[in-house]
Symmetry: C2
Subunit: 423 residues, 2 copies
């Protein structure tokens, strides 16, 4: 048992140079073949998924978890479509991002190279198996996948499709390695392999992220919770602010870029809150407010400290009336999770103060928090949204799975003249 | 005792926004004032350094360590000069690196923001106290410094100068915090503060780096050893190659970008090696070679496996004759440390194959390994040379102490049309 994970990682790492060496055209074709193969082997994948969902029902998984787990023809087609879109994206490997000629004639280039081997540790959605693997390959990396145990048959069936595509292209299957045994000690072993794993990306609930962050000896970029705020400024267009509020809270409450807290400038609270809270309540949202909120909106229940720190991922919103923008920024600084913050304002100075005063991965001026998403921000695809202030911050696309190195071209330059030996 | 380090980190973190909020002009002035203050308080710093060196002599430190520890008027002037040069560098904070307008009218910007709080853990050179602190501040960060215990008086005296400059500028001293008690348990405590420390940078010997990497719960970018290779290709200009060899090995053998291993294509070994090895031996270099090397150069002693993995940091060179470029690349892949690799060749195809076939932070074509240095590569200054393939790879300047986030500007865009509530 022991050593199994290391052997898997060694094989994946040994396979990586073959992926890195492909031309952009061939990496594109590889990912297109993966899409084809998932479509062709549709029945096997759906049968495996039926096993998982049956086992999940028996185990008493929640309706939400079963929904995340379930695949059908439409969802499989969406997975294949996502791979095709990713395949067509610009290839980041080898791109020269900067070029400078030094006074001594040296030409200094920054060149994007793959990170190497990425360990992706995720939970119940089986589409991540295809998405994450393809995104890692697009950037020239190998990937070691460890999905949730509840999705293990689905993940194995999808991985079989990816392996078939690698074989068709004459590439080593080990470039996409799946840790099939879900035992936690395997994850622990994986997280110790600092000589083999260049980056671990945990994606899932708070428990998973904490487990990875606490045990990892390999670098980790966390995709942690989103306690996202909308601040409605004194100078806001209140209709616009209400649209952002409803979109942010009610359009898809279970995702990390949904709003969790509304902050309203005291000067506009009386004009904004009653109608805005009414609109939310009509959409089934439970509103938990401070005293000033409740004075204006009797339908709101009392919010406590924990509500302001919560990522509800549900139709619940915490609301607070603030004295001014500094009060709002102090609240965000105290309770925020560095994910996404929004200001609604028609005052450019207030917008700039809000941008400067927040340290989150994404800050939105007069736009919904729901746009903090790789596709929406133009990255084509994302492996997750980093809330770690290192390497990548915000949505991570293929480019974030590379690193820039230095390529220097000279004509025999040396640093110390006395090193010249030629006669 | 316990909690002391946390309190220090909390104070540093609380001071960071004041540094981030400075205009570029004021950050420049702050660092200039630090240079002035080091010059003005010269006598105190030199007296403190005399204490350290006296203690070091008594403790039996090696000559090399005492040399790294020692300050004099010239070295202090160089520290002040380095700060002035850094002060004049472009300010990275707030820079918009990309801007894109999406089809829905959203304007997506990437904006550089400080990392936050950086923990710098280093050894005996007291100039790092000034250099690292100033570089962190230049990028809008706060810094927590933990230098070597042998330099503690010097570090405290330099930190006092930096604090005086912060006070003169009306800024919180805690933005530069020095861990004065050298006990290892304090470093351990520091490395656990994942809620406060955004990045730890260990810089020093292998023991220090390993200690930090093994115990850190905070993100780490390692500045690890340089087992740097020069590969002399069959198509090399051999005079040029000899210059690169002598500069790389003999100009300053104790630094991480010095050459440690020479690989020579078999076709040119007989023409290249005798004269090249002779030039090295005249400069006091001990040459440890493979059998083919020794057949050509009887002065060379026999190299063993450990010699090829060694970072000698001394006037010692390992040499090996290789069959071809693939053999050279396999050697680098097996023994290299991802730091710096050099090819000497007049064949562009060989150069490209070498670039593609190495994964190191810097790859040089017909240029000395000694150019892998922040100043030489145009970064102005460096906090070290990262050999971690994450966030930064190669020399890290002020820009590498920032992260890009997303700033999105809209006119009320929402993701779901039905979120529109306005009448």
């Amino acid at each position: 048992m022991n050593g199994h994970v290391r052997a898997l990682a060694e094989a994946a790492r040994a396979a990586q140079p073959a992926i890195a060496a492909l031309s952009p055209q061939r990496r594109q074709r590889l990912i297109e073949r993966m899409a084809e193969r998932i479509e062709r082997d549709r029945e096997q994948v759906l049968a495996a998924n039926a096993d998982d969902t049956a086992r999940g029902e028996k185990a008493g998984l929640s309706t939400a978890m079963l929904d995340r787990l379930r695949l059908d023809g439409v969802r499989l087609a969406a997975i294949a479509q996502a791979l095709r879109e990713l395949a067509a994206q610009p290839d980041p490997v080898g791109a020269v991002t900067r070029r400078e000629v030094r006074p001594n004639g040296l030409v200094i280039e920054r060149q994007r190279v793959p990170l190497g081997l990425i360990a992706m540790i995720y939970e119940s959605r089986p589409n991540v198996t295809a998405d994450a693997a393809a995104l890692c390959l697009k950037a020239g990396n190998a990937v070691l996948l460890r999905g949730g145990s509840e999705a293990r048959s689905s993940n194995a069936a999808i991985a079989a499709c990816l392996h078939a595509a690698l074989r068709e292209e004459g590439l080593p299957e080990a470039a996409v390695s799946l840790l099939t045994d879900p035992a936690r000690e395997h994850v622990l072993e994986l997280l110790q392999l600092s000589d083999l794993v260049d980056l671990a990306i945990p994606r899932g609930g708070e428990g998973l992220i904490r487990f990875v962050a606490e045990h990892a000896r390999v670098p980790v970029v966390k995709h942690y919770k989103g306690v996202c705020h909308l601040y409605v400024d004194a100078a806001a267009d209140l209709d616009l602010a209400r649209d952002l509020l409803v979109d942010g809270k009610a359009s898809r409450p279970g995702v990390c870029n949904a709003l969790e807290t509304l902050l309203v400038h005291a000067d506009v609270a009386a004009r904004f809150l009653p109608a805005a809270v009414g609109a939310l309540i009509r959409r089934g949202v439970e509103v938990r407010g401070c005293e000033r909120t409740r004075a204006l909106c009797p339908q709101a229940v009392a919010a406590d400290e924990a509500d302001y720190a919560a990522e509800f991922l549900d139709l619940i919103l915490a609301v607070r009336v603030v004295d001014d923008i500094d009060d709002a920024l102090a609240h965000v600084g105290r309770y925020g999770s560095d994910h996404t913050e929004v200001i609604a304002t028609a005052d450019p100075a207030a917008a700039e103060a809000f941008i400067r005063g927040t340290r989150s991965a994404a800050v939105m001026v007069n736009a919904s928090s729901r746009f903090n998403d790789g596709g929406e921000l133009g990255l084509g695809a994302e492996i997750g949204i980093s809330t770690t202030r290192l390497h990548a911050y915000g949505p991570m696309g293929a480019e974030s799975l590379t690193i820039e190195r230095f390529v220097v071209r000279g004509q025999g330059q040396v640093r110390h003249r006395q090193s010249r030996t030629a006669s």
